[in-house]
Symmetry: C2
Subunit: 157 residues, 2 copies
């Protein structure tokens, strides 16, 4: 869930397409459609937080994707708790088990693909949650819930 | 697992960072490090296949990530079966449950981030496999195995 800090208020959107692109500095690429209210705020403020929900928040994740910050304060209507971040104006979502404070470092692919390149400035995680069950959008409201972890001998990073 | 067709032979690499970026035409962004043997081939031929393995192939996935096509024919050493694709010269991997034939449509971010923009030309899937258990690299040989699917009422694509 991507939070931004607009002029009027903070907002949150549900965001499916993102991936790491670099370890050091940690960087993430993500697609935010120009049909989303978040698009203009992200482009203007160049700051956001990526908040990673677990399956317990699935209903809120979908509710967030089905409404727009143009019309409502989604934190209130959905019941998510914003809290001040450390490096950016966009808020952290308390209910999420991890939060990545990010700045936009490259907008060259925004016009063509709505693709933002982010650098992660600060990362938060709830150390009490040892086995967070993340959810992964498969389309049209279907989500894969993360299963077990396997470990193999590997030289991969 | 990303296959390419080099001048000498076809090759396969294990590839972690990829995401959809567009529905129509279907497009995928992925990172292929310039330290990988595949990098030069992909840049030169502008063709590849994304082959999606399931947990049954986890050992091969890691073996593929721990060796280089500079030195060996990985299809032989690892025991993967290449078969001719329809739209590109890179082969499909028979053992994978889905295969996406792709062409590189944008290389503007390759120098800076090793980020390739691909268009999917043709997609194959094994319809007999109703519940493929995919694997998702968490780093250093740890993989999350896909768990159950949940379905919520959503207007999201």
């Amino acid at each position: 869930m991507l939070t931004t800090a607009g002029k009027r208020r903070a907002n949150v959107m549900t965001q499916s397409w993102h991936m790491m692109i670099e370890f050091e500095p940690p960087m993430v690429a993500c697609v935010v459609s120009n049909r989303n209210f978040t698009f203009d705020t992200l482009k203007a403020t160049k700051e956001c937080v990526i908040n990673i929900p677990t399956v317990e928040l699935a209903e809120q994740v979908v509710a967030c994707g089905n409404s727009s910050g143009r019309d409502v304060d989604k934190f209130e209507t959905i019941g998510l708790t914003p809290v001040a971040a450390s490096r950016v104006r966009a808020p952290l979502i308390t209910e999420c088990y991890a939060n990545l404070e990010c700045k936009v470092v490259d907008t060259r692919e925004v016009n063509r693909y709505c693709l933002f390149i982010l650098e992660v400035l600060k990362a938060w995680i709830d150390p009490a949650r040892k086995h967070p069950r993340t959810i992964h959008h498969m389309g049209k409201g279907a989500f894969m819930v993360s299963g077990k972890t396997i470990k193999l001998r590997s030289r991969m990073k």
